[in-house]
């Protein structure tokens, strides 16, 4: 009796997740070449960002195309906070998150009155405004930002300064990824998750069953912005450099969105899946074929995006699930067939 209960609680899915987690934690011990760890860190941070974008873009279904802006705000605030001698970039990181939430609130308040494409465009506009402000000025409020040159972060190697070598960064970002998956899962399975799904499919009907649509969209946007900002702060300390081209780039916002959609937006594992597959392909192509190939990668994304949106709107993740179900179904059929035969 107790055995069957245990069996019910521990599904193969849980074992798979656990195995993945163990594998992820052992990875730097097994594969020690810095080159691979470097790729792994980049892929992990994209997994994290895609999962963060998924909260507003996937669960709430609001295509916030310019949400990379919060990565940049988080990064700049954390770096400037430390550079100007206010304290550790860790505190700066949290402050960056809070400032991002404030911006998200101010920007989204009017934008949520717009629907669909207009909302997306408004978020892009905000990204461009912030980017050109950073590009156009060498200092902001008296703090040196060096315009397009960006800010170099002096290497100290101290964890207080958010620096801990490649392996350290790998683990920090992995823990962040695990945390955001936990947060996503809590959202997904709570009242908020059901409300966001309702808003995503039918805003009108959602409001007539008592859902405060703007409030829940805003909550999703603020949580997403906060998480994106934290990732930005950590990632630039790994790069030891923050520049508007990197963190306020339109490409970054697009990539996060594309990974999420191709992987499967609105699902827990879709963004991770998309970022893993595409991130690895992307990094490998770039290293193997040089930076000339970058435009080709964009073309590849474009084609992949069209195919996914047309034939598998649930993304690769759902496609995989469908395949597994089909295989299971055909296996089940065969089993029952053999049973029938044996009965005969």
């Amino acid at each position: 009796m107790s055995k069957t209960l245990l069996k019910d609680k521990i599904a193969p899915k849980h074992i798979l997740v656990l195995a993945l987690l163990v594998l992820a934690f052992l990875f730097p011990q097994i594969v020690t070449q810095p080159y691979f760890i470097q790729i792994a860190i980049t892929v992990l941070i994209y997994c994290y960002w895609s999962s963060a974008w998924n909260i507003i873009g996937g669960y709430a279904g609001q295509f916030a195309l310019g949400n990379g802006v919060y990565i940049g705000i988080g990064a700049y605030v954390a770096v400037l906070f430390h550079q100007e001698g206010f304290g550790s970039p860790w505190i700066g990181m949290v402050l960056g998150g809070v400032i991002s939430v404030m911006f998200a609130f101010i920007i989204s308040k009017p934008c949520f009155k717009l629907r669909g494409t207009y909302f997306s465009l408004a978020t892009v506009a905000f990204l461009h405004i912030v980017r050109y402000i950073i590009l156009g000025f060498n200092s902001i409020f008296g703090m040196e930002t060096n315009g397009g040159m960006g800010i170099m972060i002096p290497y100290t190697g101290r964890w207080q300064d958010m620096q801990f070598g490649k392996e350290g960064f790998y683990y920090v970002i992995l823990v962040m990824l695990v945390l955001i998956l936990v947060v996503s899962n809590v959202i997904r399975t709570s009242k908020m998750g059901y409300y966001l799904s309702a808003i995503k499919t039918n805003q009108g009907a959602a409001s007539t069953i008592g859902i405060n649509v703007p409030k829940y969209k805003m909550m999703a946007q603020c949580i997403s912005a906060f998480c994106l900002a934290l990732g930005g702060a950590v990632y630039v300390h790994f790069l030891l450099n923050v520049s508007p081209y990197d963190v306020f780039g339109y490409d970054l916002s697009l990539e996060i969105m594309i990974y999420c959609v191709i992987g499967g937006s609105g699902t827990l594992w879709g963004p991770v899946f998309g970022a893993l597959v595409l991130g690895i392909i992307n990094e490998t192509l770039r290293v193997q074929l040089g930076s000339d190939i970058a435009p080709l990668a964009s073309a590849f994304y474009g084609v992949a995006l069209i195919l996914i949106v047309r034939f598998a709107p649930g993304g690769l993740y759902q496609l995989g699930q469908m395949l597994i179900n089909k295989i299971k179904g055909s296996l089940g059929k065969k089993k029952s067939e053999t049973k029938e035969v044996s009965v005969q």
């Binding site: 399975t189 709570s190 009242k191 059901y194 409300y195 799904s197 309702a198 995503k200 499919t201 039918n202 009108g204 009907a205 959602a206 409001s207 007539t208 069953i209 008592g210 859902i211 405060n212 649509v213 609105g266």
Partner: protein, 244 residues
């Protein structure tokens, strides 16, 4: 006792540009009563529903619910106060299952998902659709969707239920089934306003009926008497038939 008015609509008008969709309409709903709202297409029935449920704001006039003016309130606030509705053209959450659709409605009064699920399961059981609970909204048939919408509205635990042409698009067999369901809901003692073209529904369920024509109120009486009203026959069956 039964004459206590739960909804009072007072001189309500809605203009869309030059068109008066609802023109100076005053109606009321008594507590525990089932009210029929009839009229030809374009008479303003759904517009009236949209204003009561907060989807549209009236141009002028007031709507009072349980003693509180609600014409300026938002749809979700009105739902919270206790008015639930269905749509003439069904509005399911297509990516959610039937149970999840109803559960989403129950979450307003029962924020814990487990509690809301229990409430939702009780309601879909009453409406006889529990066997469909794991079917996605996108795969349900029209009658199943209509039942789901009623269940979803009931899950918000309303004091007043607005049913907008739930019979439209159903075949006679399905209508009989749904009529039984509606009778069951009426027996729970909830106050209901029904918009319906199928007269049998109004005759069976309604205690009182209003007739709208081109935005104006033209009659108010018991369903039987309303049917005999010359203006009703004129606007419903047509002037020629009336003459002959």
């Amino acid at each position: 006792m039964s004459e206590e008015r739960i909804i009072v609509v007072d001189h309500l008008t809605k203009r869309f540009g030059g068109l008066k969709a609802v023109d100076d309409v005053s109606i009321h709903l008594n507590r525990g009563e089932t009210l029929g709202l009839i009229g030809a297409n374009g008479a303003g029935k759904t517009t009236l529903f949209n204003m009561i449920s907060g989807v549209l704001k009236p141009t002028s006039g007031t709507i009072t619910f349980d003693g509180v003016e609600i014409q300026k309130k938002k749809a979700h606030e009105i739902c919270k106060m206790g008015i639930g509705r269905t749509y003439q053209i069904v509005q399911p959450f297509t990516t959610l299952t039937l149970l999840e659709n109803v559960l989403a409605g129950a979450l307003m009064r029962h924020p814990r998902v487990a509690d809301a699920r229990e409430v939702a399961e009780g309601i879909i059981d009453m409406l006889g659709i529990s066997h469909l609970k794991n079917t996605k909204g996108a795969s349900l048939t029209l009658i199943q969707l209509k039942r789901m919408e009623i269940a979803r509205a009931l899950a918000t635990e309303p004091k007043v239920l607005l049913l907008d042409e739930v019979m439209a698009g159903l075949n006679p067999g399905e209508r009989v089934e749904l009529l039984e369901t509606m009778q069951k809901i009426k027996e729970t003692g909830i106050s209901i306003i029904i918009i319906e073209h199928i007269m049998k529904v109004i005759m069976t369920l309604a205690d009182r009926a209003y007739v709208l024509n081109q935005g104006c109120l033209i009659a108010e009486d018991t369903p039987q008497k309303v049917m005999e009203h010359p203006e009703v026959i004129k606007s419903y069956i047509g002037e020629r038939h009336y003459a002959s």
